[in-house]
Symmetry: C2
Subunit: 315 residues, 2 copies
Amino acid sequence: MLKIGVDAMGGDYAPQAAVKGAVMALDAVGPQSRIVLFGDRTKIEEVLAAENCPAGKFDIVATTEVIEMGDHPAKAFQAKADSSITVGFGCLAKGAIDGFASAGSTGAMMVGSMYAVKPIEGVIRPTISSIVPTVGGRPALLLDVGLNVDVKPEVLAQYGLIGSIYAEAVLGIERPRIAILNIGEEETKGNAQSKATYELLREDGRINFVGNIEGSHIFTGKVADVIVCDGFVGNTVLKMAEGLYRINKALGGGNAFWEAMNYENVGGTPVLGVNAPVIIGHGCSSPLAIRSMILSTERCIQADLTAKLQRAFKN
Amino acid sequence: MLKIGVDAMGGDYAPQAAVKGAVMALDAVGPQSRIVLFGDRTKIEEVLAAENCPAGKFDIVATTEVIEMGDHPAKAFQAKADSSITVGFGCLAKGAIDGFASAGSTGAMMVGSMYAVKPIEGVIRPTISSIVPTVGGRPALLLDVGLNVDVKPEVLAQYGLIGSIYAEAVLGIERPRIAILNIGEEETKGNAQSKATYELLREDGRINFVGNIEGSHIFTGKVADVIVCDGFVGNTVLKMAEGLYRINKALGGGNAFWEAMNYENVGGTPVLGVNAPVIIGHGCSSPLAIRSMILSTERCIQADLTAKLQRAFKN
């Protein structure tokens, strides 16, 4: 049995959207998977009743507190010891669940990732990533998307290996092509950080490094499956894509490529480099977005991603 | 009389595209404007004849050499003393023309900007910028888009003033809103560079600083008219926009917003902070793109942009 922990109290429209999303995920998860909801038992059961869904379809871990968006993440994580996120991470750390997902406080999710499940030994800085659609249909992985800025080249170089393992294990891409986001294709282009990272990635025999990728090719799929960048740049790319998606939608331009850009289909942001699968959802997650988030958590668990990362960094 | 210098030999499809674009611009430039073509007189006149355009509509400055894309910019600028770009900058420096535009070697155009017309006194680093469309229809200015990376906060802060003067003088935006591209709206967000720049911009009473802008709002027009960023980030934004424009076009999604993103309508990249209007066009410029480039050069001249920048940095 594989247990997917889900914060029923996380996100702007929780618990309704979170619980509805969990119901929507029921048919899609594997027969060996069980969704474990963390939150206010009464409220969860109310939503389930309204959805005509028997409460027995889920495990429920009753909690009495909620970390709000306005709370100081680290303080609230400690002070609200019976919050859905704190309890969820407690269960994750002791192995009672196999992964944990929430559309709640990103800060609290990071506190839990760093202090409850902790970075994998050898990983300098865990990272958050995003799956980006490509025209070819095969997704690519962009990392970091905003957790770490001003990082050393050694940190960026580790993203290459982390991303390679994720792309192979979870996205099913054989020998994924790893590139560094840069302002030119040539080896000599870039800023101090990207040039130094280029040297490190080129020397890393464990990955299939293909060189630099320019902004124009992020979404073409022609150059790379894993795109490594500083969190400042990655966050800008991700938010710009979201902004253009919304503009495009408002202007009536719809097609499969742009729909794949919709955060509701993306399935949240994996925290990579910590000792368990953790997925952070968009604050304004709809039920569909919660469903996608649960499914990507399941994929990380099924792929045995954490063990693969741990092994890679042991050496 | 206002003289717009145009490199007839610059760009992948020169001289045909360049000369055709100049012909297309004839009806659009003002009655006091004269287009001066730099290049191979015979070839220019051949294209004009094929277009049924009398050669007398233009001034032609005959040159015998061309700086190729593969040439070393600085070396070629000196060695090919009779190249269209070198001669163009010579005329610009001595005031024989009022602005110079080329879709040729970007490197050679920068060499000419820095060594022939030279940075404006007080400007630490001249910059290249791009006009980006917004949903509201009013364009915004993004700078730097790839010339300067790893810059000091003082350089970014100057972009604020340079952009403000450009937006007001050339784009006709009153009291333009200046923002710094960042990974959060809050003042405390960002990397070391953006945080330090924030402090400097906030203290600059000459501009209307509105704080941080996230990637999601670059194209909405809701937050800022001038978006300041490091050249690494700006280059990525610009190329990503170009890439998505092409994807969108290929998928058949067309509308006014995306058409405004088309480089052919953008009018090239102004080099800002040097002692004369210089505009660099896209290497693959079509005649329409050349026409737009010529018109934006004319606007910079008419707006008396250089004098305004010089005055602002005198203090």
